[in-house]
Symmetry: C2
Subunit: 217 residues, 2 copies
Amino acid sequence: MAYRRTTAVAQRLADNRDQILAAARALIARGGFAAATIAAVAAEAGIATGTVYRYFPSKAELFAEVLRDAARRELAVLSETAAADGPPLARLDAVVSVFVTRAIRGQRLAHAMIAEPVDPTVEAERLVLREGYARILGALMDAAIAEGTIPPRNTEIAADCIVGAMIEPLIGPLAKGKVRKKTQADDLLAEIRRFVNAALRADTANANVLDFPKGEF
Amino acid sequence: MAYRRTTAVAQRLADNRDQILAAARALIARGGFAAATIAAVAAEAGIATGTVYRYFPSKAELFAEVLRDAARRELAVLSETAAADGPPLARLDAVVSVFVTRAIRGQRLAHAMIAEPVDPTVEAERLVLREGYARILGALMDAAIAEGTIPPRNTEIAADCIVGAMIEPLIGPLAKGKVRKKTQADDLLAEIRRFVNAALRADTANANVLDFPKGEF
DNA sequence: CCATGATGTGAACTCTAGTTCATTTCTTTA
DNA sequence: TAAAGAAATGAACTAGAGTTCACATCATGG
């Protein structure tokens, strides 16, 4: 026998793996999934394209792991925020603040993780993330409803509304290629918080809406 | 001289063009942009692949025109709704209802038009659509503010919040083509309206939020 | 320091889909 | 009906990206 993997080598392999994941994450953060070709990922990681396949069986698996990691991290941060002391709606407000702040800083990556369509393997991981958001926000709303602080509602749909209201103002400017200054970031956070907080607090039964055309897209 | 285009031929050419656009729209509605390959579009339209290029210079231009047409149609419908009689917030509620109803009916097509990423040429057309939504909603909010019905706010950001709150709950179900039951569609519409209406009506100054971690996605 | 197996390499292969173009078919009019 | 130009065709070309693999390089232990 003349070769056995030593711990030093094992460490290097693990590091390489992390490098590849980091490279993929960086490229996705810069230009979305489309920009993260295997060749580009390899170049970013400083290795040959073939080497990527020593660590991941396919591009889909690599992306899935990037998304899985991001989801774990994001949901952990939000769960912790949601588990703090205080009334449910204050905690929900804090969750919104944390989400928006983090998403503003990681704009493109956040958009890719949450909204950009890719192949089914990756889509399955995204589901975990989205369901995680819905679970955290939904639980806080349910708690507020149980307390009698706010009237009952469909918290599953409302959770999606909150996620959308948080994300959309962030990606619009992104598509327009605008760069955001700190003051704009502050305005953004303030306005989104106001919007979400108001949406949860007000009790408005839906009025009958005037007849409207029923066509389709 | 031995040939000159006659009106009958011109008509047939125009019809072919419409056929191609309709075929592309149908395929996108069925399986998103990915399903609308030139070969598939040609087959759907009953012509050869090469023929498509006698009518459109490139696939991007074809898609852009499909999106442009859809955007024009959608914005026209919403503008008309927004221009009806009644208080601004009631009209805004109607606009939300019309948008959500049409998007649910158009399912996959709506999702593709609003959210699915494609190349920059097409993205530019999408921007017109999203900005159109923001413009219509923003104008109605401004009117409500001018009336004194609701307190002043940053209507540009709030308009994006509304768009997000309308779209996000639809994306999951629409991507999967899952909004089949009437009750589900009704729930979606009702909850989204409630969310948006409440968000606009309540006046909640933002409380100070407890310190929270400032990391990024 | 060599034998051995693991690891790294990147050119080549494959697959898919957009685009082109030489040829065929059709339309018109003299 | 024949000439001439327009339109349609679809096979071939091209481009880009994921994946493979024969070979090179490196690390280990006798």
